[in-house]
Symmetry: C2
Subunit: 289 residues, 2 copies
């Protein structure tokens, strides 16, 4: 199952998920001048970073909004990047946060689990209810694919809905979501013990980290919020289990690390590698592995 | 403001929103054989339907999943369709249901309010919280753009999260969302009285229709669920105010209406027109206009 592949990659390469949120403003001018088409600029930037980091990381995440923003060419850059990642056997997460009624969800599944935008994992939004997951289950059951459903996010607005207290037990809403995902996910556990139905859990709120980790022992977490959004290695390590059971995403902290160096423009991928190494060490020293 | 344009269109043309959820299976074989590229097939199908219905409807909605499913070419079909709609001055809703942290939401705003995929309205998902709306507000404030945020949807799973009872008042969660949207929307009301921050309210659950309409007097509703999903003209008219204040979407019921007729393949757009007329009448007879 795909979750076993991810588990093994984490065992081997650590927990850093490189977020390729490739805003054109993040890309060095010299690279932008070299290629005429946006898709090539995006792809070449991503490829250099991938080539310099792929021996250090278990998985790459692409936030599709950054590509949608540049229209057809932008999405062509997305497609080229995930195709490349798959060709070198790296695991891919399409951070698409889709969520829709089942006939529509079927089309999203076709788009992101089969078509030109095929990735290994996607992120999903549960607001419309759990029937919206159904069209994805056959892909998960086949062992080929997995999902990370939004549970508790890393932004300040997370409190608006996810932290509402729900009757009759007066529990945070995100536990209602988590309990249900946990239940659905039981059927899709790999030999590593984790389910291919994982959850997105922001690394920025740490008060309930231990409770979340204990309550969902078989859930694999995609953890955003490291670096720019404020979560530290210590914070995010609370969501891990003996150094596994989760990957921690960093985007700007890695792909724009070069901006702090004089020779950054020329060596942006080297500085991405350096940032990955530092982040990996920060997490590992805290998770005691 | 865009909401005034929509209000006026509804006054003139009624409440039917044509949903261009253009699955290739819905498209007549003879049309599919005529064009080599998927973008052309999708566009020509949409264009014929648009040309035969545009004097009868206030707005068109494109569910982007149906285009994403066909990859780059599919999205090119999406782009061509919305460009065409804008060229003939019809109002467009991009049914994208995005929702993400603010830096990402900024990119979605750029994608769907500025770029190649520019539409007049988009749909948004509130699960991540209300800070995720912020990047869209400057577009709304300019008067050019509007949003419909998911409040209570038309699928069975709506009960899973939207109908949770929230402490301390033991109210349905969707009222928490609605009250907050209503509050944010106050600032963006047009001269018609409605706000450019509208809501998606499924037409299939009618028990609380009157309460929703009364509680959110200045909110314009995008109402899915008519036809295939089970809502009737009587059901959806409960969400209107003197025949305005909402548009009712139908997709398959209109764009595949031709399948019931022997000469449907040749005359699919004529039958789409017939379906629109019948639906418009069904709603108007019930809303007493």
């Amino acid at each position: 199952m795909i979750i076993d592949r991810l588990f093994n990659e984490v065992e081997k390469n650590g927990n850093v998920c490189v977020g390729l949120d490739s805003h054109l403003d993040y890309i060095p001018v010299n690279l932008k001048e070299k290629y005429q088409d946006i898709d090539e600029v995006l792809f070449k930037y991503n490829k250099e970073i991938i080539d310099k980091t792929c021996d250090l990381v278990p998985v790459y995440k692409l936030q599709i909004a950054y590509y949608e923003a540049y229209g057809i060419k932008g999405l062509l850059g997305y497609k080229k990047t995930i195709e490349y990642l798959r060709s070198i056997k790296k695991i891919t997460i399409g951070d698409i946060k889709r969520g829709d009624i089942s006939s529509t969800a079927e089309m999203y599944a076709k788009a992101h689990f089969e078509g030109e935008f095929e990735v290994d994992f996607i992120t999903l939004n549960p607001y419309l209810g759990f029937d919206t997951l159904t069209p994805f289950l056959k892909y998960i059951e086949s062992g080929e694919k997995g999902v990370f459903v939004l549970l508790r996010t890393s932004n300040p607005g997370a409190k608006d809905i996810q932290y509402l207290k729900v009757s009759p037990k007066d529990e945070y809403l995100y536990y209602i979501v988590g309990d249900k995902l946990n239940e659905i996910g039981t059927k899709y556990r790999g030999s590593c013990g984790y389910s291919s139905i994982g959850a997105v859990v922001g690394g920025t709120h740490v008060d309930e980290a231990k409770e979340i980790r204990n309550r969902y022992k078989n859930m694999f977490f995609l953890i955003p919020g490291y670096g720019h959004q404020g979560a530290t290695g210590k914070d995010v390590s609370l969501y891990l289990n003996n150094g596994n059971g989760g990957v921690i995403n960093s985007s700007r902290g890695i792909i724009t690390a070069y901006k702090n160096y004089e020779d950054g423009n020329q060596r942006f991928a080297d500085y991405a590698r350096k940032a990955v190494l530092e982040m990996r060490e920060d997490i590992q020293s805290e998770s005691g592995v």
